[in-house]
C-alpha cells in the first residue's frame, strides 16, 4: 500500500481517470436516490463507497452498469459516455460487477457460470453453434482455457462441475467474483463482497481482492459495510449519505471526519486508534 501513501490527501489520481462520475442525479418519482454525486476512479485504484443503508451506494452501481438511467449528470468510462447505454453494451466495454444478493445462474455449473462471464469473448453465431466443429469448437476451447485460469486463481477447482445453487454461500460469492473476472474486466464493481461472510471467508475474499489489484491491475469500485476491510484495502473512500457524497478521501482522513462519524461510523468507532 506504499504507493497509495505517497498520494496527497484528498487528491484525485494524477493519471487520467478510468471512470468519471459527475454530478449524477437519480430519482424515482419523489425519492431522490442520488443527488449530485461526483467521483473519479484512477487506473489500478481501489475506490470504496460506504454509507448507511439506503444512502444510494447500490444505486451508483446500477447507474454504472446501465440498469438505472439518471436524470442528470455524466458517467464516462475512458472517453465513452455510459448514460443511455444498455447493460449488455456496458458489459461489453469491460465493466463487470458482482451483486449484493448473489445473482448467479443457480441451475448451471460453476464452469458454465464462469463461461457465461466470457460471453462476449471469442463470440460465434447460431449457425456455427449448431454445427459445432470449426469456429464454435475453437472458440469454446479458448474460453475454457481462460476460465480454468480463473478456477485456479480463485481455488474453485473442487466445485467446478457442481450446480452453483448447491454450493455454500461463501463459495457462491467467490464464483460470482470469478464470473466477473472471467470477462477480463477493465473496471470491476464489487457490491458488498464480504456481506454475510464469517471471518475466515472474509480474509479469503480480502486476499483475492488484493490479488486482483496486484496481479491483474484492475481498478475496482467496492461497496462494503465491513469497515475493517474497507480501511485496510481501499486507496480512497467516498462516504455517501441521503444520496450525497459527504466526504471523499484517504481512509484515515475519512475515518476522522466529524461529518462521517456522525452520519455513519458513530462516535464509538475505533478505527482511528489502530496502530
Amino acid at each position: 500500500m506504499t504507493a497509495t501513501e505517497t498520494r496527497s490527501p484528498e487528491a484525485e489520481p494524477t493519471a487520467t481517470p478510468v471512470l468519471t462520475f459527475e454530478d449524477v442525479v437519480l430519482g424515482f418519482s419523489g425519492v431522490t436516490a442520488l443527488n449530485g454525486v461526483s467521483f473519479t476512479v484512477g487506473p489500478g485504484e481501489l475506490f470504496a463507497v460506504i454509507g448507511p443503508n439506503g444512502a444510494g451506494k447500490t444505486s451508483i452501481f446500477n447507474v454504472l452498469s446501465g440498469v438505472y438511467r439518471p436524470q442528470r449528470g455524466t458517467v464516462r468510462f475512458g472517453a465513452q459516455n455510459l448514460i443511455g447505454m444498455s447493460p449488455h453494451a456496458i458489459a461489453r466495454l469491460g465493466i463487470a460487477r458482482t451483486f449484493q444478493n448473489i445473482e448467479l445462474f443457480s441451475n448451471l455449473t460453476v464452469l458454465d457460470n464462469l463461461m457465461l462471464g466470457r460471453h462476449h469473448h471469442h463470440p460465434y453465431g447460431v449457425l456455427a453453434a449448431l454445427g459445432w466443429f470449426g469456429k464454435a469448437r475453437r472458440n469454446e476451447l479458448a474460453n475454457r482455457r481462460a476460465v480454468e485460469e480463473i478456477v485456479d486463481f480463485l481455488d474453485l477447482a473442487q466445485w467446478r462441475r457442481l450446480p452453483v445453487g448447491l454450493l455454500p454461500y461463501g463459495v457462491q460469492k467467490r464464483v460470482e467474483l470469478g464470473r466477473a473476472l472471467a470477462s477480463e474486466p477493465k473496471l470491476l464493481l464489487l457490491d458488498e463482497p464480504v456481506a454475510g461472510m464469517n471471518l475466515e471467508e472474509t480474509e479469503d475474499m480480502a486476499r483475492f481482492i488484493l490479488d486482483i489489484r496486484d496481479e491483474l491491475d484492475v481498478p475496482m469500485v467496492m461497496v462494503e459495510h465491513d469497515m475493517g476491510l474497507v480501511m485496510d484495502l481501499a486507496d480512497r473512500i467516498m462516504v455517501v449519505d441521503f444520496g450525497r457524497a459527504i466526504r471523499t478521501g484517504r481512509p484515515r482522513e475519512v475515518a476522522t471526519d466529524p461529518d462521517v462519524v456522525r452520519a455513519y461510523l458513530g462516535e464509538e468507532h475505533r478505527v482511528v486508534d489502530r496502530p
Binding site: S65, G66, V67, S86, P87, H88, A91, R92, A96, R97, F99, E103, L104, F105, S106, N107, L108, D112, M115, L116, G117, H119, H120, P123, Y124, V126, A128, A129, L130, G131, W132, A136, R137, N139, E140, L141, N143, R144, R145, E148, R179, A180, S183
Partner: protein, 371 residues
C-alpha cells in the same frame, strides 16, 4: 484411451470433457440404442413402425419447444401454430401444381420443402418474439395461446391452402435421391422407409440441438431463464437471445409439422389446436425440461401412450374400445392418464423421465453401497 478404463471422469484435454459423449457409458449406451433403433424396422409390425416414426417427428417438435421453454424459460402455448405453418408450407410446396382446388408448387424434394417449412416457421417465430421481450411467465403464455386460436381461424378459412375443415389436403410428399418414401417399395415397405427416414432426421436435428445448447448460445439461453437481470449485466443481450430462442424453436416446430403428416398422408386444419400445444408441453414436462434426450423420451412416451391404452380393453374388461359399448372408453382413459402423469411428474419428479434416469444411474454408480 486405455489409461481411462475405470476412470471415466479422467480428462486429459478440455476437448474430451466438452465432447457430446464424454463418458464411456454414454458412448456404450448410444451405440446400443442406435443398433436397436436400426434393427427395429425388421422386427416390428408396420403399424407400430408408423407410430414410432410419428414419435420421432414429435421428438423433433418437442426439442424445439424445450429450447424455448426448457432452456430459455419462455413458456409458449403456441407450438401448434408453428407446427401448422411448417405443415402447410411443406404441403403447399410439394403439392400438385395442376390442382384447381389447392395451392401447389410440385417441389417434392424433401430437403427443399423441409428447410422451407423450418425457415417460414422460424420467421413467424421471429415476428412473435418481440412479445416475449416485453412479457414473461403467464402473460407470455396467454399471448402465445392467442396465436393458436388466430392460427386455427386462419387455417380453417384459407381453403386454397388448407382445404378447409373436414376436407383437408394431402401432406407433403417425401422424396429424396429419387426414392419415394411414402409408397411401398420392392425391398422395403412404406412404414420401414418412413421409420428409417424419421430416425435419421431425428438424429440430425437432435445432434444439432445438443450442439446449440452446449454452446455459448445455450448457456446464454439458460442465463436468461435463471436470472435475466444478471444475464443482461454480464453482457447477454436478453432481447436478442429471446428472439433466437423463438426462431430456433419455431424452426424445429416447422420441420416437425412438415413431417408429422407424411405418415398418414393427410393434413386437417382442425388438428392444430390447443390440445396439440398442450400435448407438446406434456412431452417436455414428462420427458425432462431443459434436456434434449428428455424431449425425445417424452415424445416417445406421449406418442406411444395411445397405442398402449388401445390394448387395455383386452386386459381390463371394464374399459371399452368405443363409446357405444358403454363404460369407460380408451379415449377417456388416455385423457385421464395424461392428467395423472403430468401431475405425478410435477410433484414427484419435476426433472421428468430424464430425472428418473439420473437417479437410476446414480444408484448403480455406487452399487452395492447405498451412498
Amino acid at each position: 484411451m486405455t489409461t481411462r478404463i475405470g476412470r471415466p471422469l479422467l480428462y486429459t484435454a478440455y476437448e474430451q470433457d466438452m465432447s457430446l459423449l464424454n463418458t464411456p457409458a454414454k458412448r456404450g449406451w448410444t451405440l446400443i440404442l442406435g443398433l436397436v433403433a436400426v434393427s427395429l424396422p425388421f422386427l416390428l409390425q408396420d403399424d407400430l413402425l408408423v407410430v414410432m416414426a410419428t414419435a420421432f417427428v414429435a421428438a423433433i417438435g418437442a426439442i424445439g419447444l424445450n429450447i424455448v421453454t426448457g432452456y430459455a424459460g419462455q413458456v409458449s402455448l403456441g407450438h401448434a401454430f408453428f407446427l401448422a405453418i411448417g405443415a402447410y408450407t411443406a404441403a403447399a410446396l410439394s403439392g400438385d401444381p395442376d390442382s384447381t382446388r389447392l395451392i401447389g408448387f410440385g417441389i417434392t424434394s424433401l430437403p427443399i420443402w423441409l428447410l422451407a417449412a423450418g425457415l417460414v416457421a422460424g420467421l413467424a417465430g421471429l415476428i412473435v418474439a418481440p412479445l416475449a421481450a416485453r412479457l414473461r411467465g403467464l402473460y407470455l403464455a396467454v399471448v402465445t395461446l392467442g396465436l393458436v386460436f388466430i392460427g386455427e381461424h386462419i387455417f380453417k378459412h384459407w381453403r386454397d391452402l388448407t382445404g378447409g375443415v373436414g376436407v383437408g389436403r394431402p401432406a407433403a410428399v417425401p422424396e429424396l435421391f429419387g426414392i419415394q418414401f411414402a409408397v411401398d417399395g420392392a425391398t422395403f415397405t412404406k412404414a420401414q422407409k418412413l421409420y428409417l427416414l424419421m430416425f435419421v432426421l431425428l438424429v440430425i436435428f437432435g445432434v444439432l440441438a445438443r450442439n446449440l445448447v452446449r454452446s455459448r448460445i445455450g448457456r446464454a439461453l439458460a442465463a436468461v431463464r435463471d436470472r435475466d437481470l444478471a444475464a443482461e449485466v454480464i453482457g447477454v443481450d436478453v432481447t436478442r437471445y429471446k428472439m433466437i430462442a423463438f426462431a430456433v424453436s419455431s424452426f424445429y416446430a416447422g420441420v416437425a409439422g412438415a413431417l408429422l403428416y407424411v405418415m398418414i398422408g393427410f393434413v386437417e386444419p382442425g388438428s392444430f389446436n390447443l390440445a396439440m400445444s398442450v400435448q407438446y408441453i406434456a412431452m417436455i414436462l414428462i420427458g425432462g425440461v431443459g434436456t434434449i434426450s428428455g424431449s425425445v423420451l417424452g415424445a416417445l412416451f406421449i406418442t406411444l401412450l395411445p397405442r398402449v391404452t388401445r390394448e387395455l380393453p383386452a386386459v381390463l374388461p371394464f374399459i371399452s374400445a368405443s363409446s357405444a359399448a358403454g363404460g369407460i372408453t380408451v379415449f377417456q382413459v388416455e385423457t385421464i392418464l395424461y392428467g395423472l402423469l403430468i401431475i405425478g411428474f410435477l410433484i414427484f419428479e419435476p426433472r421428468g423421465l430424464f430425472g428418473i434416469w439420473i437417479r437410476v444411474r446414480n444408484y448403480w454408480k455406487s452399487w452395492p453401497f447405498s451412498h
